[in-house]
């Protein structure tokens, strides 16, 4: 499959997101938001047909559903996954979710609740939602559309909603074994937690992005993965699938200015 240089940053990020679900086996793949959902859908349609997916409501589908108004497309349901069943799935650990938290720290702890003081916050966001339960029970990856030091904070996130690798937060007897934080896909790079003591590493840089730029826009120190290279470009086959899954180009509105995938250095 030849590389195609005509792709957007969003499409590059969809492909990078799809890589997060490689080798997970039969788990529920929950990509929350346009790019994570397209990433999960792409994974299922290429190397991971074993993944389970829903229609983003409560039915399981074996064929990922295109985003937005469907025209004459009729979803093919294969099973049922109500919110109640999602909790049973989450607590049983058979899920890999990718969500976009408001803040992430060097421990992989995440915040979706408030920015600033908890009692009188600068900004109230959604609330912790399912982050506490997701993070302690199953595999999680994260998506960050605008990589900066307000997202990747110094110290801890303002309200620890999702658990991470911070030993100070874990009391003796609490089970950490089910926590599994994999990737962070941003508009600059792909990060993981595979450094010494789960230190954050840059796994790959998007075309035209330098390690120094990523470090400058991150509130904690980063390591370079030994194999750190350029984030793989979408193939023609992948682009064809993405365009079919997103016929209304919702992905084009996800990254500010919808920049091309190959950026020239600023």
């Amino acid at each position: 499959m030849s590389n195609n240089t005509e792709f957007t940053l969003a499409e590059l990020m969809i492909v990078a997101a799809s890589e997060a679900w490689r080798c997970d086996g039969e788990v529920l793949a929950s990509g929350i938001g346009v790019i994570p959902r397209l990433g999960a859908s792409l994974a299922k349609l290429t190397y991971a047909p074993e993944l389970l997916m829903t229609d983003s409501e409560c039915f399981l589908v074996e064929e990922p559903i295109p985003l937005g108004p469907r025209g004459d497309y009729v979803p093919k349901y294969s099973g049922y996954m109500s919110f109640e069943r999602v909790f049973e799935c989450v607590w049983g650990g058979r899920r890999h979710a990718m969500i976009g938290p408001t803040q992430i720290d060097r421990f992989g702890q995440t915040n979706l609740s408030v920015v600033g003081d908890y009692r009188k916050p600068k900004a109230a966001i959604l609330g912790v939602r399912g982050l506490p339960g997701n993070s302690i029970n199953h595999i999680n990856s994260f998506f960050v559309p605008n990589h900066n030091t307000r997202v990747f904070v110094a110290g801890e996130v303002d309200m620890v909603s999702g658990v991470g690798f911070n030993p100070a937060r874990w009391a003796p007897g609490m089970k950490q074994d089910f926590m599994d934080i994999r990737r962070i896909v941003t508009d600059l790079c792909v990060l993981d937690f595979e450094g010494p003591d789960h230190a954050v590493r840059v796994r790959s840089l998007h075309p035209g992005v330098s390690f120094d730029e990523v470090q400058e826009k991150t509130g904690f120190p980063l390591l370079k993965a030994p194999e750190m290279g350029e984030t793989p470009h979408p193939t023609a086959e992948q682009l064809e699938i993405i365009r079919r899954l997103d016929p209304h180009d919702l992905r084009g509105a996800q990254i500010k200015g919808n920049p091309p995938g190959i950026r020239t250095a600023a």
Binding site: S82, F83, V128
Partner: protein
């Protein structure tokens, strides 16, 4: 046996300081006709237990909420619930912010008359730090694991909106996802439901009877409230009203915005509310959202 009553009869059962649980999920199948009746009343100092949508936002805007027991507040298509956000940022709300799973776990404990149920959810987060009343417990078995003991969330009153009910209190939730209304109903001393349609007595096929998710002995009152979930969804019948949501969101940006919203939509009563929103002919045909 006839449990039929009005929204005013339901609200007459409420007292200041009560703990009230709401069915639905975010902007989906919320008992909004009853919420509007609460907004018209002088009931106050409520502890509101909800997977929050505009029920939470409007009760916050009206100053009815003393304490919120919740995992989120959102309008989904508009991610940030405007009045929850505004009131939350002003400080002063008492909070028990919970993981979504802990929330239903606490209701489940209450419904089963247990003091708590164990879970891992919430451990190693700020939830336990911010809510010191949440205790841990060690497994009495060989594993000795330390777990969070999610306390029962007991409700004085549960308020739900369903598709169909009868005068005996039998209910059908016909949307694809029944959410957790059954647990809200079980956790409460008294449950009141509003319904799109009320029949004298349901006579059901086996297929349709499966839409009944909790028993009528839990239901103390039934209100006939067509389009009673508006502006939230009531699948499979109607979707959320985005134009109304936008008007509601705008009210949080204006000085006096809430009073203006009350004057326009709430104070004149439910019939006037329907007229203002194009009548039930329009409200009942709003398309379901597609994701």
């Amino acid at each position: 046996m006839n449990k039929l009553m009005t929204t005013a009869d339901v609200v007459a059962q409420l007292r200041d300081g009560m703990t009230i649980g709401f069915g639905g999920w975010g902007p989906r199948r919320k008992p909004m006709a009853i919420v509007r009746e609460i907004l018209r009343s002088d009931v106050k100092d409520l502890t509101v237990v909800s997977y929050g949508g505009p029920d939470v936002g409007m009760l916050c805007a009206a100053g009815k909420v003393k304490k919120l027991i919740f995992g989120f507040a959102t309008l989904d298509a508009i991610p940030l619930e405007p009045w929850y956000r505004k009131v939350r940022e002003a400080g002063g709300l008492e909070l028990m912010e919970l993981d979504e799973g802990m929330w239903q776990w606490g209701l489940r404990a209450a419904g089963m008359r247990l003091p708590f149920l164990p879970t891992r959810c919430g451990l190693a987060t700020d939830i336990t730090k911010l809510n010191p009343e949440l205790k841990t417990i060690q497994s009495p078995y060989d594993d000795g694991e330390v777990l969070l003991a999610m306390p029962a969330l007991k409700l004085d009153v549960a308020l739900l909106h369903v598709n169909v009910a009868d005068q005996l209190g039998n209910t059908l939730i016909e949307g694809s996802d029944p959410y957790f209304d059954h647990l809200v109903a079980r956790a409460a001393d008294a449950c009141f439901v509003s319904a799109e349609r009320v029949e004298e007595r349901l006579v059901l096929t086996p297929e349709r009877a499966r839409f009944n998710t909790f028993e009528r002995y839990l239901v103390k009152g039934v209100v006939h409230a067509p389009c009673g979930a508006h502006p939230t969804t009531c699948a499979p019948e109607y979707g959320w009203d985005m134009s109304h949501f936008k008007r509601y969101v705008a009210s949080a940006a204006d000085d006096g915005g809430w009073q203006a919203y009350m004057d326009e939509f709430v104070t004149p009563g439910e019939a006037a509310y329907q007229d203002k929103n194009g009548g039930i002919e329009r409200m009942g045909k709003l398309p379901l959202p597609v994701f």
